[in-house]
Amino acid sequence: MPTPSRYWREIPQRYRYEASRCTGCGKIFFPPRLVCSACGSREFEPTKIAEAGKVMTYTVIHTPPQPFVDQAPYAMGIVELDDGVRITGQIVDCDFSELAVGKRVRLEFRRISQDGKAGVIFYGYKFVPEI
C-alpha cells in the first residue's frame, strides 16, 4: 500500500492527467520525467494527456494482488490515447465479451483501491467505453 505521502505526490497525474512535453523533440511523458528518453533534453513544458483513445491490448485478471482481491475479475488494458501516449489501467463498465483491440475508451475518475477498511482511499483514472 502506498503511504499517504507517496499517494499524494502522484495526485497531479492521477487526478488531472498532468504530463510534460519535451521542448526539444515534442515527446509527451506521462508521468513527467527529468530527462527526455528520445532526445536527451531536460527542458519540458507542462501539458495534459488526451482523455480518450483506443485499446491496444487487454486482459482480464482473475488472480489479483492483495489490494484488488475484492474487485476480481477485472479487465485491464494498454490504451493508446489520441495524442499517442500509452497508459495502463483498468477497463470498467464494459462486459468482458465486449473487450476488443481497437475499442474506443475514455478516462473516468474512479476509486482504484484502498488501504483496508480504515486507511487511505486511493483514487485515479480507469477506462470506460466511449459511448
Partner: protein
C-alpha cells in the same frame, strides 16, 4: 580479460519446500557447487535474489548467505534484477574472474516464496513492474504477459493452442528432471481447460511459485585445466534493459532487451543463432518463450508459435529450448532461475541429463529476463 570456466554446480530440489528456510536453501546449493568443483575455498560470492525482503522479510542477504556458508569475512554481494537476478549474479561473477580481481568466485541464486501467501507473493512479484503506473492499477505479472499474448495473437495470429504447446513441450522435458517441481507431462487440452489466471493465460501457461536455489563455481580456464576439470567456458555474455513499463515500448510483443543482450553475447562469442546447440530461456509464461525465440533470432518476428507447433524447440528439434523443463515444469524460484539455467547447461555438457539429454551438445545459451522484459542477461557456453 581472462577466459572463465564453470567448474562446479549445485542445486536444490525445486518446489514447495515447507521445511527449508531461505538460508538453508542457499547454503545447500552452494555447498553442492563447492563439492562438485573440488575447490577448497572461494574468494568472493554473488547471490541473486529478487525479493527476500518481501517474500521472507529478510534483507542483507549477502552477509547472511556468506555467514551460513561458513565464509564470513569474504566479499559477498546480493544482486537484484527481478527475475534476472540469478543471471546477473552469473555475469558479475564472470566479470570478477575475467578481470583478474579474484580467481574462485561463487555465483548463486535463491528464492523462498512459500513463506508468503498467494496474494502476497503475487504482489511481491508485481514489484518488478512500475509500482506507481502499472501495479497501482492492479496489474499482475500474468496480467502483463497476458497483454503481450493478446497483442501477439492479434498481430501475428499466434493461436491459443500454440501457447499451450510451449507448456506441453516443457513438461515433457521436465518429466525427466529429478529436481523439477512438476515432473509430469500435460496435454494441450489440459492447458486449455486449466483455470484462467489472466485471460488468455491459464494456470498451465504460468510458471509456479517455487522455493529453490542453485549455485555455480567460476574460475579462470587456466586454473580449471590445472584442476583437471572438463572445461566449460563462458564465451559470451550480454545484458540490456528496456522501459520499465510495458506500455512504453513501441511494440509490446518485441523483447528489445533480449534482442540486444543476445546480440552482445553472439558478437562476443563470435557465434550466430544456428551455431547454438540448445537454449535455456526464461519461459515464465508460455508467451514469453515464443517472444524470446523471436528476439534471440531463432525465428522471424511472429513465427514463434508455428515453430513450437512444428516441433523445432523439442529436444530432437532444430533448436531445442529448455531441455530442463524450463521455468514452467522445473519451477521458478525467481532469483535462482538464472543460475539453474547454468546448472542445466553444465549437466547437459557433462552428459548427465538423463532422459532429457541433448545429443552432442557443445555450445549452449542462457537467457534470463526480469519484469515484463525490462532487463535481460544472456550467456553463451562452450564445452571444449
Amino acid at each position: 580479460m581472462r577466459d572463465v570456466a564453470v567448474i562446479g554446480v549445485g542445486i536444490t530440489p525445486f518446489g514447495e519446500l515447507w521445511n527449508k528456510s531461505l538460508r538453508n536453501l542457499f547454503t545447500e546449493a552452494a555447498l553442492a557447487a563447492i563439492d562438485d568443483s573440488g575447490v577448497d575455498r572461494i574468494q568472493s560470492m554473488y547471490v541473486g535474489c529478487m525479493s527476500s525482503g518481501l517474500f521472507v522479510g529478510q534483507e542483507h542477504l549477502a552477509a547472511l548467505a556468506a555467514d551460513y556458508l561458513g565464509q564470513r569475512h569474504i566479499p559477498s554481494t546480493r544482486v537484484e534484477s527481478a527475475c534476472a537476478s540469478g543471471g546477473l549474479a552469473m555475469r558479475l561473477g564472470y566479470m570478477e574472474v575475467a578481470s583478474g580481481m579474484n580467481d574462485v568466485v561463487l555465483v548463486g541464486g535463491v528464492e523462498k516464496m512459500t513463506d508468503s501467501t498467494g496474494p502476497e507473493a503475487t504482489f511481491g512479484l508485481g514489484t518488478a513492474a512500475d509500482q506507481e503506473y502499472e501495479c497501482y492499477h492492479g496489474i499482475t505479472f500474468p496480467g502483463l504477459y497476458a497483454l503481450i499474448a493478446r497483442a501477439h495473437m492479434e498481430k501475428y495470429g499466434t493461436t491459443r493452442e500454440q501457447l499451450a504447446m510451449v507448456a506441453v513441450k516443457n513438461h515433457k522435458n521436465g518429466a525427466n528432471n529429478p529436481n523439477a517441481q512438476y515432473p509430469f507431462e500435460i496435454t494441450v487440452d489440459g492447458v486449455l481447460k486449466s483455470v484462467m489466471i489472466a485471460d488468455p493465460l491459464r494456470i498451465l501457461d504460468c510458471s509456479p511459485i517455487t522455493d529453490g536455489a542453485a549455485a555455480a563455481i567460476l574460475c579462470p580456464v587456466d586454473m580449471a585445466k590445472k584442476l583437471g576439470k572438463p572445461i566449460i567456458k563462458v564465451i559470451g555474455t550480454g545484458h540490456a534493459t528496456d522501459t520499465i513499463q510495458l506500455c512504453d515500448r513501441d511494440d509490446p510483443t518485441w523483447l528489445e532487451a533480449t534482442y540486444l543482450a543476445a546480440k552482445q553475447a553472439y558478437a562476443m562469442a563470435d557465434k550466430k543463432p544456428s551455431d547454438i546447440d540448445f537454449f535455456e530461456v526464461h519461459d515464465c509464461f508460455t508467451i514469453a518463450e515464443i517472444c524470446v525465440m523471436e528476439a534471440l533470432g531463432l525465428v522471424d518476428k511472429g513465427k514463434g508459435g508455428p515453430a513450437v507447433e512444428a516441433g523445432k524447440t523439442a529436444i530432437e528439434g532444430k533448436f531445442p529450448i529448455n531441455p530442463s523443463g524450463g521455468l514452467k515444469s522445473k519451477g521458478h524460484p525467481v532469483g535462482a532461475t538464472g543460475i539453474a539455467q547454468v546448472y542445466e547447461i553444465v549437466k547437459q555438457f557433462r552428459g548427465e541429463a538423463e532422459g532429457r539429454q541433448v545429443k552432442n551438445a557443445r555450445i549452449a545459451m542462457t537467457q534470463n529476463m526480469g519484469g515484463s522484459g525490462a532487463s535481460t542477461v544472456t550467456h553463451i557456453f562452450e564445452r571444449e
